[in-house]
């Protein structure tokens, strides 16, 4: 055991923090720090800025134009971005990229990889369906083969950014034989294919991120299959693993904690009573303590050999990360106090230029709480994570 960061990692951390901090455009940083909702252009602009440095696709190996970073370097990069007020990185970059690099045909790699780093091609993930959330393998969107094409009928739901995307990777049912997992195919398609429609779903905070996507006789060439017909579950599982470190939410939690500390300082200046400030102070401290431990769990997960049964799994990360995101967003709302009674949704969404009655940050506090109620649902619900942790650990502990 060696509990120190290598000197190379320290040097990388210092370098990346300094660089990233100087690269984030002021207006984007302002929107982030105002707890506003970002626009599509914000994400695209930031990706292009990163792309100039070759950092747009942190999880990609050098041979595909990525920086070839180690998992530790990726974590340090992600942290630097969050602390500098950069947009969060679209997770799909690190999902579809590695999938195509691992399972794609030469033609698929050639066709799809180049558009990803700058988000010229924006991908969305079409997995969940109205009847298939936690039980993803029961999905029913059907792709029936006719000659060299699939005809797709069905519906996806909760598809993040489908309205900003021009491509989708999705799971479709191609067979009813065997176990449900065995009849699923991983398919690529373009969002302008006739028969495909996107309908917005607004969330609690009035934002539009997620969508329903309907398929009516959507025709897709068979060469858009990744890996092979009925091999989709394998691809999906690989992809889940690819987002292990991001799922921890360390950067996001740190950023929100930083905002909480700033708000506390503002409340102190505004003369808020010391009894109230003390409550916030101890809550901030407790969250900060848990976040520190969480970071070390992340380090342990990163370092673990792929099949080490003793290492904490990604489900630990997800569970603790969710808990932190839920608590720190709750703290932000509470810090917002009575001002959070007012909410100007257009100002938060950036649809209007005006400043809301009590400023952007206070306007965004309750909204941030509402937004992060998603944490326990996305990427496998908290209940599902607990089921997994139990299954993974109970026998080992019983044997001790």
């Amino acid at each position: 055991m060696d509990l120190t960061l290598s000197s190379a990692d320290i040097a990388f951390r210092d370098m990346i923090r300094g660089e990233i901090a100087s690269m984030v455009p002021e207006d984007i940083k302002t929107r982030v720090e105002n707890l506003q909702h970002l626009r599509k252009e914000d994400y695209m602009r930031w990706q292009s800025i990163l792309d100039v440095r070759g950092w747009a696709t942190p999880a990609w190996p050098v041979e595909f134009g990525g920086p070839g970073w180690s998992p530790m370097q990726r974590v340090l990069f992600e942290e630097a971005c969050f602390m500098a007020g950069a947009p969060r990185q679209i997770p799909h970059i690190n999902m579809i990229g590695p999938v195509l690099q691992t399972f794609g045909t030469e033609d698929q790699k050639h066709r799809y990889l180049p558009g990803i780093p700058t988000l010229r091609d924006w991908w969305c993930q079409g997995y969940s369906e109205p009847g298939s959330g936690s039980d993803l393998a029961s999905l029913r969107t059907k792709a029936v083969r006719h000659g060299d094409r699939y005809i797709i009928n069905g519906q996806k739901i909760w598809t993040t950014w489908a309205h900003w995307s021009n491509h989708m990777f999705c799971l479709v049912r191609t067979s009813d034989a065997g176990r449900p997992q065995e009849g699923i195919t991983f398919l690529l398609l373009t969002m302008d294919t006739p028969g495909l429609t996107v309908r917005p779903i607004h969330s609690l905070d009035g934002a539009h991120d997620v969508n329903e996507v309907f398929f009516e006789d959507v025709s897709v060439p068979v060469e858009n299959v990744v890996l092979g017909e009925n091999q989709g579950w394998k691809v999906a599982k690989f992809l889940l693993n690819a987002e292990r470190t991001e799922i921890a939410g360390v950067g996001q939690s740190k950023r929100m904690l930083q905002f909480a500390r700033r708000l506390l300082a503002e409340l102190t200046n505004a003369g808020v009573s010391s009894s109230r400030l003390d409550v916030f102070r101890s809550r901030i401290a407790r969250i900060a303590i848990d976040l520190k431990a969480h970071e070390w769990t992340l380090m342990r997960v990163i370092d673990a050999k792929p099949d080490d049964p003793k290492a904490p799994s990604a489900s630990f990360l997800k569970l603790c990360g969710t808990d932190l995101l839920e608590r720190v967003s709750t703290l932000l709302m509470d810090l917002g106090g009575p001002a959070g009674l007012a909410y100007d949704v257009d100002a938060r969404n950036g649809n209007v230029d005006g400043t809301p009655p009590y400023g952007h940050v206070l306007n965004g506090t309750a909204a941030t709480y509402f937004e992060y109620r998603k944490s326990g649902l996305v990427g496998g619900t908290t209940e599902i994570q607990k089921n997994i942790i139990y299954r993974e650990t109970v026998s080992r502990w019983a044997a001790q």
Partner: protein, 372 residues
């Protein structure tokens, strides 16, 4: 003690529930301010016809003379269907302010109008938007040419956009007191502020505005103000109980109808336990609210304050746990604006932040009980 409803109480609840379920009773979350205020006034007039405005007003002042228990029942029934507005302010807070006022003249002049729904008084007390504090006031009241004039600025006035009058906290030569100001007159600027769930509050700016008052005799202190706010706080806790009922009902039926892995998700024990917690927390909130309703009748202001603060902090804390459980057990549907649950969630947070949040009330509870 008897926790069963009397026949009269049952009838009252039935009437209010029936009204609350009707489409006319419901606030649209997206109406622009003008339409929303007119709408709110219209809804209030309908409630007045039901007799709700005069419910708590003494019979000698043209009212029905019911108590805090009925106020809780009515606001719970309204809350269940999100038809709250503006019972708590116009039906509870305003009449209580006038009844507790030491000014017989102002009571005579306005209480009947309140009972008949003609006069809608909103309390304009808050100046800081960072922390609730009834007594942190810099608005001034002065005598100029035999008239009282008030100058200052008030934030987050609940139901302020539809008020005919404001009850303004202000400092005069003798200290803090409460004054009445007509909403439409020179020097009053009302800026509507959109609330979390799409209702409208108001920022009120007053520049040498003519006022009536004060509502309280100098020596009497301001317990009357605090007491009136406590009454409103208990009523709003009642509304929160209604919200919790509905959130739990929605969750219960979802648990039974939503299937994953070939069975109703309600068969998963983890969800059963979370649901059981929601139900238990709502029951605790109910107990706390009833306790506080009883304490409103207490002669001892300290008892009243302690129990009201206990109730409001319980309701804030437990209401939040219930809404979070409801979201979690619903999965993605739980964060969807279009689904009914979303309105209950946002309203619950509004209630939590109105007239003191959890940490405010915990601190107030501690202050009052530590010295005992």
């Amino acid at each position: 003690m008897n926790f069963d409803l009397s026949d009269d109480q049952r009838a009252l609840v039935d009437t209010v529930e029936r009204f609350a379920r009707s489409a006319a009773a419901k606030r649209q979350s997206t109406s622009p301010v003008g339409a929303a205020s007119e709408d709110a006034v219209l809804r209030w007039e309908q409630m007045v016809e039901l007799g709700v405005a005069a419910l708590l007003i003494g019979e000698n002042n043209g009212g029905v003379g019911l108590g805090a228990a009925e106020a809780v029942l009515v606001s719970e029934a309204l809350g269940q269907s999100l038809a709250q507005e503006p019972f708590v302010t116009a039906g509870v807070l305003a009449p209580k302010l006038l009844e507790l006022s030491t000014s017989d003249g102002l009571r005579e002049k306005y209480l009947r109008g309140v009972a008949e729904g003609r006069v809608r008084i909103a309390l304009a007390s808050d100046e800081s938007v960072h922390e609730f504090d009834l007594f942190s006031v810099s608005t001034r009241a002065e005598v100029q040419n035999d008239r009282i004039v008030v100058t200052g600025r008030k934030e987050l006035v609940v139901d302020g956009a539809m008020a005919t009058h404001f009850a303004i906290t202000a400092r005069d030569a003798n200290g803090l007191n409460l004054f009445l100001v007509a909403a439409v007159q020179p020097g009053v600027m009302v800026t509507p502020v959109r609330g979390l769930d799409g209702g409208w509050m108001a920022r009120i700016e007053l520049e040498c505005v003519e006022a009536e008052g004060p509502l309280f005799r100098e020596a009497a202190g301001l317990d009357g103000l605090e007491c009136a706010v406590d009454h409103a706080t208990v009523a709003i806790c009642g509304e929160a109980l209604g919200l919790m009922n509905r959130m739990i009902a929605l969750t219960a039926s979802y648990l039974q109808t939503r299937h994953q892995f070939g069975k109703a998700i309600g068969t998963f024990q983890a969800l059963q336990h979370r649901f059981a917690e929601m139900v238990t927390l709502a029951e605790q909130a109910r107990s706390g609210t009833l306790m506080a309703a009883a304490a409103l009748a207490s002669e001892d202001a300290e008892v009243r304050k302690a129990d009201v603060s206990a109730a409001k902090s319980l309701v804030g804390r437990n209401g939040r746990a219930v809404l979070e459980g409801a979201i979690q057990l619903h999965g993605g549907i739980g964060i969807t604006d279009e689904y009914e649950l979303s309105r209950y969630i946002r309203r619950m947070i509004e209630i939590e932040k109105t007239w003191g949040d959890v940490s405010y009330h915990e601190a107030r509870f501690a202050r009052v009980t530590d010295s005992r």
